[in-house]
């Protein structure tokens, strides 16, 4: 079997496991953790296409997540069927990206990061003032609440995001996006329309972040309206991508697994000290493995075999 066929078979198997998992799970807890896992994979991969592949460090992802959540929740609670409300959240997020993107993407490096952070902060304050209250599900929604349904919603959003981003970064567009990251001036010199590729990456990123926001709105029974605009939604996806491996497709997935699953296990087995341990692991990762967990085998391969080869060589000489 060719490597590509094996890869497709394994992807299919992973997907089948994910689809069938709720049938074998009795508790709500496992499903709620998996919902969070899928949410973080979507958010981090969406950040990665803009920050990792296009090199545009968006520190304001909460604005797009929040707009998706706000739009979806308002439409859904006012009678729009959820399958229509959630794409509307994604589209609203793209609209914000386009409005913000045209001026913001003219900024470079730190200025772009600060600009997007300002957008998130403005959105947080504005929503806090316009919607100072709490969003509750109605009695009807609570009575029909199904965590299994939420699980599948998050799964579909995640699979759609991963598929779209995988196909994009492995296409001609992906080359343009990466060229933009590597050297904007050089890319422009050879005719790459860097603004176009930045906008494409920004739009794809925002759409799936908006969908994830819609999933959040569908998942939570009650929360303050401003909550999905909180800055934690800006920084956690970045943290995850750096843990997993920035600018790689599997990095955000591995990072999310570590962040959600391992952190949960640590929280219950190690208690409050787990935060300290996780923080130390993050600092060590950044210091010694800047390519993240995904880059770990390569880093070890570079470090250890050299010694190993040296030793073997020395022994060979002795003989």
């Amino acid at each position: 079997m060719a490597i590509e066929s094996k890869w497709y078979a394994l992807t299919g198997a992973a997907l089948a496991v994910a689809v069938l998992l709720p049938l074998g799970m009795h508790g709500q807890y496992g499903l709620s953790i998996l919902c969070m896992l899928f949410l973080y994979i979507t958010l981090s991969q969406s950040w990665n296409i803009l920050g990792g592949y296009a090199g545009q460090v968006n520190v304001g992802q909460a604005a797009f997540f929040g707009v998706g959540a706000l739009t979806t929740r308002l439409l859904w609670l006012h009678g729009t069927p959820f399958p229509l409300a959630i794409p509307a959240g994604g589209i609203a997020s793209v609209v914000l990206a386009v409005v913000v993107g045209f001026p913001a993407l003219r900024l470079r490096g730190h200025y772009f990061a600060i600009g997007t952070l300002a957008v998130a902060w403005i959105a947080h304050i504005t929503v806090g003032n316009l919607f100072p209250g709490i969003s509750f599900l109605t009695g009807r929604h609570v009575a029909t609440y199904s965590l299994v349904l939420r699980y599948y919603v998050f799964l579909v959003i995640m699979v759609a995001a991963l598929t779209t981003i995988y196909l994009t970064v492995n296409s001609r567009i992906g080359l343009g996006v990466e060229a933009t990251r590597d050297d904007e001036d050089a890319a422009q010199t050879v005719g790459v329309n860097i603004v176009k590729y930045k906008i494409i990456a920004f739009a794809i990123s925002s759409f799936f972040v908006g969908l994830a926001g819609g999933g959040f709105a569908f998942f939570n029974a009650s929360y303050y309206w401003y909550l999905p605009f909180g800055l934690m939604w800006c920084f956690e996806p970045i943290l995850i991508v750096f843990i997993g491996g920035v600018g790689t497709f599997v990095g955000p997935i591995v990072g999310s697994l570590c962040y959600v699953a391992l952190k949960e296990i640590f929280a219950f087995t190690l208690g409050e000290i787990n935060i300290l341990i996780f923080g130390v692991v993050f600092i060590l990762t950044i210091l010694f493995f800047p390519r993240g967990i995904v880059g770990l085998p390569a880093a070890l391969h570079h470090a250890w075999p050299r010694r190993l080869h040296g030793e073997v060589g020395e022994r060979a000489n002795v003989r």
């Binding site: 709620s32 953790i33 303050y224 591995v254």
Partner: protein, 409 residues
Amino acid sequence: MTKKGFLISAVALLFATGLLLSHGPGGFAQSSPPKTIKVGGAVSLTGKYAAGGVDVADGYRIAVKHINDAGGIMVKEYGEKIPLELLLYDDESDPSKTVTRLEKLYSVDNVPVYLGEFASDMNIAGLGIAEKNKVPWIGVTMAVENAFNQGFRYTFAPCMFSFMEVGSMFDALDTISKDKRPIKIANFELQVDWGKECTKYVNKLAAERGYKVVLEQKYAPDTKDFSSLILAAKAAGADVLFSVPTPPQSMAIIKQMKELDYAPKATCFIRGPDLSNYWQVMGKDANYILTCGEWTPDMPYPGNKKLVDDYKAQHPGKLIGMQVGTAYGAVQILADSITRAGKLDREAIRNAIAATDLKTVRGRVTFDKRGIGNVPWSLCQWQNGKLEVVRNPDFKTTPVLLAPPWGQR
């Protein structure tokens, strides 16, 4: 890592995660009594709300210890006393984690009752989960009345809500003789639902009781500079200032009032000055400030002295926070409700909580149909380093002191 390698690890991790997390519920229908009754909640033991969360956890722990020292809770179904087992999971001050922790308590630990959190963000997330899972939830620090107007059946909060907090301020002001009583109110409205609710009641009660709201100014939760509001209140001649600031804001406002030489006769900040270390931080500038008085170590309610003595023995030198007492009271209600329900059935316990009529360390508690606690309306005032109760219907209180100008303090 190769794609193949990654996918194999992904499938394995997914299976492992599923296996780790997919414990089925045990069910309550047991013929033999359980060794313990598991109760618990998600509490902020770390993160930005940890200071209050730790107080809540301490209150829960002492209450459970006292109950277990007496043999546990009598459960009629089993004909014997069963000790409580307290499960407190750290939600790291993150509402998303509150949700997953409460799901674990529901489906893995099978708790018959949830205990509430310290901060509103987490409590609001908890309310929805409790209602969805049909698990009774007993809160500790709720103040937003609107949260209990949703028709929820399983949520109960033996706390002072906005109408009680505002009402207790007017009750305290009413105790001042008419010739000295300040009546011109400036209301700095915090732009959150709680602030809006308080404004509604300030306006309503002021009109009913002969006071006058001379200024109403709004501010955002992140506001740090209050000088324009203070100058407006000073210009309006307001001699009462009311607000529900965050703790840092409550300190900033007082400092800026002093700088701008604005000294209303009564300053009532429901939140902020209620922190046990407020005097340590603010010094004598905290004098005369009125604040929430849900519970203090001096309250002469049954069991309160034992709670305070044990707390001091366990935490020598540590100031005792208000939430220690309110959390202790929540566990008292829980224990009483399980005893009256006579079984560990969530619906039976829910009905027993709704019918609560209990004297706790914070006073007598009953609930209205919405789950809002009927608790004693209480207000405190900082007087020379001590938080004195100046309004409480159940015992003799200290008179309210009017604040002199800053130069005379």
